[in-house]
């Protein structure tokens, strides 16, 4: 895959220019740029990349983007610039799994798929990649790894708790980006099939139970780690935790747990000062 390493490195910055107008769009195009360079050597080389690519497509490429790209300007052939303009349009998905869409959309461009199909592909991937990433990473893998880190802190593992958390988390994180970019590039317009990959489905099946067990084990262990002065304080801490959880639940929809906790702590500090 030409430009793989550069595209992979750029994927780590996919949210750097996040805006409410285009979401990840700018970062998406930035990451896809090294892959789209295949279109940049002029119509002859682009045509070699796939059927219908290059100059033949430029005339109608992507509406306004295609029209504006008619002038090659100082940095890039028309096909390259039209493709880049399309890829910078609105896109939203989980940042790690966006690699799959970057690879697929770039491959579709280089293979000379019609611009409308490329745009439909990007649009179609938005929902599934977002939902998959939220379930797999934000609600599964991240809490699981954080819980393992906390458990290790409770077991006095010190620096190894941090190392274990970072290594464990990033093994899946980096694998997802590498796999996504490769799989997307390999699949092109037919990338939807990659989402049904057995490895991904198996991960989805196991991640929630693993995270639930890890989080369930980590939370009580904090009571054993925290340097309470006496055992009755541990019981009081557990009781306060249940009370606070109830408060957070009561304020659900009106205030986040963070705001409720800050409020409770501020009140306790007030009581402690006025005692």
């Amino acid at each position: 895959m030409p430009g793989f390493r550069s595209a992979l490195a750029r994927l780590f910055t996919i949210q750097a220019a996040f805006t409410y107008e285009r979401m990840l769009g700018v970062g998406f195009a930035f990451a896809a740029e090294p892959l789209l360079r295949a279109l940049d050597a002029g119509a002859g080389r682009a045509a070699g990349a796939g059927p219908g690519a290059g100059g033949a497509r430029d005339a109608g490429a992507g509406g306004a983007a295609g029209a504006a790209a008619a002038d090659p300007g100082p940095s890039g052939a028309p096909a390259f610039r039209a493709a880049l303009a399309r890829q910078a349009g609105f896109f939203n998905a989980h940042p790690y799994l966006a690699a799959l869409a970057v690879g697929a959309a770039a491959r579709a461009e280089v293979s000379g798929e019609p611009p409308e199909r490329v745009e439909r592909l990007r649009f179609a991937l938005t929902g599934p990649l977002g939902s998959l990433g939220d379930r797999l990473i934000w609600a599964g893998w991240l809490p699981a790894c954080a819980a393992v880190g906390l458990l290790l802190v409770a077991c006095r593992a010190g620096v190894w708790a941090v190392v274990a958390f970072l290594v464990l988390y990033n093994v899946l994180h980096v694998w997802l980006r590498v796999w996504g970019l490769r799989m997307g590039w390999r699949s092109g317009i037919g990338v939807a099939a990659a989402l049904a990959s057995p490895a991904l489905q198996r991960l989805l099946e196991v991640v929630a139970p693993v995270a639930a067990v890890a989080v369930g084990a980590a939370l009580p262990s904090v009571l054993g780690w925290y340097p309470f002065a006496g055992r009755w304080e541990i019981a009081a801490g557990a009781g306060a935790a249940l009370l606070c959880a109830g408060l957070v639940r009561a304020f659900q929809g009106r205030a986040t747990g963070l705001v409720v906790a800050a409020g409770v702590l501020a009140v306790v500090i007030g009581v402690g000062v006025l005692w």
């Binding site: 220019a17 979401m23 880190g149 970072l166 639930a212 980590a218 309470f228 009081a236 747990g257 402690g272």
Partner: protein, 230 residues
């Protein structure tokens, strides 16, 4: 604290703030890591880790999903970890309560300032709209660089705020505190654990994961018993 250490704390907080969204999203922004790094820069990594672990419990609630506004724990945890290291080996719950309140406010402000950064990114995007429509790669690079720069400034300011305000508040609270210290102990752990408990229940408290959560909790209680016996 020396100027070099202060610069180090600012650097760690800035990296942690950038990590959340801009680059590289490797979870350096989690309190467990940022707190540890803040403590390490200030000379006592394990003291920073202790503060970070406590803030990590609050962060269980945070699901950094897309355009939603969520707290930014990195700069707050880095500064709080450094304050933990500066405070020394003695674990003072009253002092910790003051630092935690400021860290919570800073994390909340982190979400708010991220919204501002995204608006500013949008303004720059509108200025470069013509270049983007023309497919100019230089416009993409400028927008990416602008986004990273704005986010870095945001993270550095948040780190400085947490460090200076947290130190001041904690000092004042410790001077003015008259209640038994156990009250601060119970409040700090109770609020952190309470937020984490509710977050765990919200994520895994329904359907099949519920029994896994319960099984984990039983194992966790066994760990507590083991730790207390040890």
């Amino acid at each position: 604290m020396s100027a070099a250490t202060l610069l180090g704390v600012l650097a760690v907080g800035t990296v942690a703030g950038l990590d959340l969204v801009s680059v590289p999203q490797m979870m350096l922004a989690r309190p467990l890591v940022a707190g540890f790094l803040g403590g390490a820069v200030a000379g006592r990594p394990l003291a920073g880790l202790g503060v970070g672990a406590l803030l990590e419990l609050f962060a269980f609630e945070t699901l950094p999903i897309g355009a939603a506004r969520y707290p930014d724990w990195g700069p707050a945890a880095a500064a709080a970890g450094a304050l933990g290291a500066r405070h020394g080996a003695a674990w003072d719950p009253v002092w910790l309560a003051g630092v935690t309140v400021v860290a919570l406010v800073a994390a909340w402000l982190g979400g708010l300032t991220m919204h501002v950064v995204r608006r500013l990114n949008g303004a720059q995007l509108r200025r470069r709209e013509a270049d983007l429509v023309a497919g100019d790669p230089r416009a993409l690079r400028a927008l990416q660089a602008g986004g990273v720069l704005r986010d870095a400034v945001r993270a550095a300011v948040l780190t400085a705020f947490t460090y200076f305000a947290g130190g001041q508040v904690a000092r004042q609270v410790r001077i003015a505190w008259h209640a038994p210290r156990a009250l601060a102990d119970v409040a700090v752990v109770g609020t952190a654990l309470g937020v984490a408990l509710w977050s765990a229940f919200r994520l895994y408290g329904r359907g099949a994961p519920r029994r896994w959560l319960a099984a984990g909790a039983v194992a966790g209680v066994a760990v507590v018993a083991g730790l207390l016996a040890w």
